[in-house]
Amino acid sequence: MGKALFDKIWDSHVITDLGNGFILMHIDRLLLHDMSGGKAMKEAMEKGYVPAQPRLIYGTPDHTMSTRPGRTEKTHPPGEPLLRSMRETTTKFGIKLFDLGQDGNGIVHVMGPEQGLTLPGTTLVCGDSHTSTHGGMGALAFGIGASELVHVIATQTMVQRKPKRFRVSFEGKLQPGVTAKDMILHLIGDVGTAAGTGFAVEYAGSAVRALPVEARLTLCNLTIEMGARTGMVAPDDTTYEFLHGRDYAPKDALWDRAVAYWRTLPTDPDAEFDREHTIDMAKVAPQITWGTSPEHVIAVDQAIPDPSTGPEDKRAAWAAALQYQGLEPGKPIEGTKVDWVFIGSCTNSRISDLRAAAEIVKGRHKADHVTAWIVPGSERIKKQAESEGLDKVFTDAGFEWREPGCSICIAANGERVPPGKRSVSTSNRNFVGRQGPGARTHLASPAMAAAAAIKGAIADVRKF
């Protein structure tokens, strides 16, 4: 029997079998951010450990840093000690920190692939559940907790039990207005937030093969929202083209050797999966969430669901979600008034996302009552966008053009959507209070978010 991409990476990283289904796995890359990085380093040191492989560890502050134009680490004071401890601990051990405002700084899941730190066939972990994003490069990447983080710092390994394999095939052509964000939201709506629990997911099919790398990163980003810790796309020429010449990618003869190796990684035709699911892209329209879980999602031209006609085990949750969101069942979601628009986060803050949003915004102006933010994913993206004049497109339309960071994806940096306000956000979580206490979140693609800012209401991007 052939092997899946996942098995090939897994098997090649087994250091030893620990019995009872557990193995000791080598970790090729550890990424640190300000919420967990400095603390984990300090804890490791307090316990008497030093980083086993400092050259395989990289750090970037993103979560707690203000994104206000002209910000410093002091703009949001609670973040300052977190960054300070990151600086102290990384300097001490010679760990590369992409510090605030420096080239290479950005949201951890944006700057990793951007710098070429994320490579096909590698294992990569970070103290953040959206680490699955890096799977878009053909890496086995997953989020870990704080204790596990200390374990990786001290040993560059993890104790792991093999998950089952789940393949999702997206087949056919993307319909107008449909993006990778719509693909993954639709999938989560289809299978539910727990379908992936205990599984490693591979995204395959003709629609995935046709996606550029940045869109594959978006696709893999929301894997945790269906319960799976890791999601991946097999590397191919699209991946190699994206990676070639990036700062930390191999060069010259080593590059050729690496590509030859990477070409052996894709899933063999006769590999078996524990679960398969296929989505026909002809049937997928632009998506928007209505509730407080990413599985609460509909096409933008659909009506807000009615709990009394929903599945019995979901009725209570649906009713509670509608109440929190201040929505009426049965009404069209299109036209629902919006107060905030956030285009950013590790899901959708890359240059292609900003270009897609700018295309909608160009020559138009946001609705007066809407606050609209563009938060680029990294310093490089910000500079690239500025060189293309995208910042001007946005500011001319009344949007705020901000500094890179996580911002109101998580509201850990003092920035938040005010209580009761409705936001269309390109991030990945619409949980209760995620964008600030009482904030109401609707997840959508960058173009859909841009359209909502212009209309001042949830809008169908296909009408633009």
């Binding site: 019995g19 000791l24 080598h26 395989l56 609670p78 596990e148 937030t193 879980s293 979580r429 949980f431």
Partner: protein, 205 residues
């Protein structure tokens, strides 16, 4: 790893699905420097307290006899979402020692074992019945979670077996240190790394 062997006590029924770690602990509490021991008062703050800071009487954790109970009963997918281990520290700070639910978020599940909180996976029917038995005899009903024998004992004395990885069970019963265990394999780690440096030199920056 903190030790866990057995707990007997009142179990608070929080019978909702998809209790995410954002709900268990807000991110700001992990930015403010309260430290992991100080998170208990903020555990579930969005449902325990009203916006004005007063207690929400509708929340099970504010109701007698469930206030301060060491066990939570919950519906599917408890601990989904963010990887923040602060969710487990907050539960611990609130005095929780075990959570019984049909299944858990994968990362949360791992984090529990690191901190001596036992996640017990039981079918929803069993969890619901435990909740019913708790409510039938408020104040008197007790549940026991026994890791050594891998059983839950219901308020009416029914014994319900549960499964746990043998490796994790052993580590938790004995409070073993993961890192020390891994370091006993240091020679194997080094051998793997030496071989990998020649097989995949581009990974080694």
């Amino acid at each position: 790893m903190d030790k866990f062997t057995k707990v007997t006590g009142i179990a608070a029924p929080l019978m909702r699905q998809n209790v995410d770690t954002d709900l268990i602990i807000r991110i700001e509490r992990l930015v403010d420097n309260v430290g992991r021991e100080g998170l208990g008062p903020y555990c579930f703050e969005q449902i325990r307290f009203k916006p004005d800071g007063s207690e929400n009487p509708d929340c099970v954790f504010n109701q007698e006899p469930y206030r301060g109970s060491p066990i939570i009963l919950a519906a599917e997918n408890f601990g989904c979402g963010s990887s923040r281990e602060g969710a487990v520290w907050a539960l611990k700070g609130m005095g929780i020692q075990a959570v019984i639910a049909p299944y858990f978020g994968d990362i949360f599940n791992n984090n529990c074992f690191q901190n001596g909180i036992l996640p017990v996976a039981l079918p929803i029917e069993d969890v619901e019945q435990l909740a019913d038995e708790m409510k039938a005899s408020p104040g008197n009903a007790r549940i026991t979670v026994d890791l050594e024998n891998c059983v839950v004992i219901s308020p009416t004395g029914r014994t319900i077996p549960f499964k746990v990885d043998a490796r994790r069970q052993h580590a938790m019963l004995n409070g073993l240190d993961d890192i020390a265990q891994t370091m006993s394999n240091q020679d194997k780690i080094e051998a793997w790394q030496t071989a990998d440096k020649s097989a995949r030199p581009w990974v080694w920056l």
